[in-house]
Amino acid sequence: MKPIDEQDNVLFVGIDLGTSRSAISSSNGMREWIESYVGWPKDFIAEQVVGKPVLFGAEALQHRLSLDFCRPLERGIIKEGIESSERAVKEIIRHLIDLSKPEPGQKIRAVVGVPADSLKVNKLAIRRAVVEYVHTLMVVSEPFAIAYGMNLLNNALIIDIGAGTIDFCIMHGTIPSEEDQRTILTAGDYIDEQLFNYLIEKYPNSKFNMNMVRQFKEKFSFVRDINEQIHVELPVDGKPVMHDIKDEIRRACESMLPSLVETTTEMIARFDPEFQMKIKNNIVLAGGGSLIRGIARYLQDALKEYGTCKVTCVADPLFAGADGALKLAQDMPFKYWETL
């Protein structure tokens, strides 16, 4: 049992270091998130214009032309040894910790959830990036942190649909091994690329960029059908013109589904038939991709031919990973923290 005074002087934080967004939940009740973009002014003049030595998230995106811009976890991994990537991860962590407002002198114990691929290949790089700003640190995979936070420790399949990757993680009463986890790259960024191409094909004279396309996706994404029209305003020869993009949004979102269904069935099929039924009734979608309208229903129907199943979505995809990591940090016995 740890002494009371030490308990009081420790801030537990759970960090979800994502490809697109990173979030922090801390034991003092703070919950914050930023977009995982970092930018440094390109030169002295740019620094005068943006007024800061480093910018994050939406602000960095807004000033991206004046910045050396970095999205460090693009495609789900940190490019180790590439100075800007590691530096950007450090900046994100530092910024998130600052946002959690630790008291001066307070010990910080952090659990960081990272994309599953990143955990496989970037363990040490992540530690290097985080360890400067916390007293003790543990690193886990994002889908595992989500599962822990939701108490899905046994017979469950977590599918974390992020921007760079979709991470699959089967929970069967132990810490998931590499075999229990799989990653595919047809995730949010892939949808963006598809949508961008479909829109260029349909509206060759209209002007738009990848950032705008990403915003359209986040606002309107759906699969199958919805009872609403989707129109957006895009400039054509400088004039704003309304464009119907419903079909393109649907096609782009559905382009991700075949690999999602295939990998889900593969993951389930690897398990003992006795447990397959239990897992099929406990599939949970998380990450930004779980906000695509109709995706849970689609997956449930697609898996019907393998028997009944139940697919649900996490209530708060933005903080599910960070909350799970925080819970893990708080549940971790004191003796474990002390020896790390």
Binding site: I78, D117, K123, M138, V140, T174, I175, M332, Y336
Partner: protein, 367 residues
């Protein structure tokens, strides 16, 4: 009663998971897993295992010596040449079933010798004695060329890994390894993410009077599912794939036709060609044999000739090593870990040391 049992079971699962997370992180720190999680092998079993390994090693060594040299050859080599044949050294590292990943067929290297001029014939019979040693020359400066850079990204893997970043990182690591030995000046054509035209790289190599040149690249072959390693030295080739690769790697050379004619005259410098070929052999052997220890799926595409401009321009022994393959997803993932890039740099350094020493026991695989 059932609910109490179920609750206890859940608590146990949670406890086990928390311990699992702790152990994983402890392992990540390189402190190993706690003793509780490890099965201790029975000491006698351990001793027997060691004895068997030693015996196999001894038998394999005898077998290699027997197959590499006949007793007469061995005596001749020992008496006339202080340094054994490099080919024998390479073969000594090959596992018994090496036939399936043996160095490429003779057409790749030995048949190319016909291109060499008659004045070179004197060196033909003493090809295993390096020219540097024969002429009493020393390697004072080594130029490392990190492929691509700046606006020339090179290949980009499916996970977004960029060739120019990987080559630069490996080049820096190689420089550090070579620098550790001392006595040799190690330079790089680029030390940051900047675009350096190929002619500038060549000019820099000449200006600095570099004695050895190695260019580092990463392959991208989407049609080949496995990882491949290959090393090139300058020479004409009929292989369409090689010509396509040369076209890619020569992009941005900024050489004119008149320059090219002048440079072509340098083809007469057969000593350079011959040394480059030898150099390429050592690089390829070290890269492949050592990489193979970590992955079963590597293919050895051997030493090849290709018309890379950067190799043609420099006057000294020069090779271009395709150290890995970005189109292979597993390999791309590995390339993003420092340890893998560090290993590649070590193997390149071992290849360079082996070339320089030709006969001294510096092979990475012997460590």
């Amino acid at each position: 009663m059932i609910s109490i049992f179920s609750r206890k079971n859940k608590l146990k699962i949670r406890k086990d998971i928390l311990r699992g997370v702790y152990e994983e992180n402890l392992f990540m720190l390189g402190r190993g897993r706690p003793a509780l999680s490890l099965r201790r092998p029975f000491p006698l079993k351990k001793i027997l295992l060691s004895a068997v390994v030693c015996l196999i090693a001894f038998l394999m060594q005898s077998q290699y010596i027997g197959t590499s040299f006949s007793p007469a050859e061995l005596t001749a080599n020992m008496s006339t040449d202080l340094f054994p044949l490099p080919a024998a050294r390479v073969s000594a590292e090959l596992p018994p079933d090496m036939s399936k990943y043996s160095l490429p067929p003779a057409t790749d290297v030995s048949s190319e010798d016909t291109a060499n001029t008659a004045e070179f014939s004197a060196f033909e019979n003493s090809r295993n004695v390096p020219l540097s040693r024969m002429l009493g020359l020393k390697i004072r400066t080594i130029m490392i060329d990190a492929g691509h850079g700046g606006t020339h990204s090179g290949s980009i893997g499916k996970m977004g890994t960029i060739e120019k970043d990987i080559t630069l990182d490996i080049a820096k690591r190689l420089k550090a390894h070579l620098g550790q030995k001392g006595g040799t000046h190690v330079l790089m054509t680029r030390e940051d993410d900047s675009f350096v035209p190929l002619d500038k790289r060549v000019a820099l190599t000449r200006e600095t009077k570099a004695d050895l040149f190695i260019s580092i690249h990463v392959n991208y072959l989407p049609r080949i599912p496995t990882n491949i390693i290959e090393t090139y030295y300058f020479g004409p080739s009929d292989d369409r794939n090689i010509l396509r690769l040369a076209e890619q790697e020569n992009a941005g050379s900024e050489y004119g036709l008149s320059d090219f004619r002048e440079i072509m005259e340098k083809l007469g410098k057969t000593m350079k060609l011959q040394e480059s070929k030898e150099f390429a052999k050592f690089i390829q052997a070290n890269l492949f044999l050592n990489s193979r220890k970590h992955s079963e799926d590597i293919q050895n595409h051997g030493v090849k000739r290709a018309p890379f401009v950067v190799l043609l321009g420099v006057d000294v022994p020069a090779v271009l090593a395709e150290v890995s393959c970005l189109s292979n997803r597993e390999e791309e993932r590995k390339l993003n870990s420092e340890s893998h890039r560090e290993n590649i740099a070590r193997y390149l350094a071992a290849g360079i040391f082996d070339y320089l020493n030709k006969g001294a026991l510096t092979h990475e695989a012997n460590r």
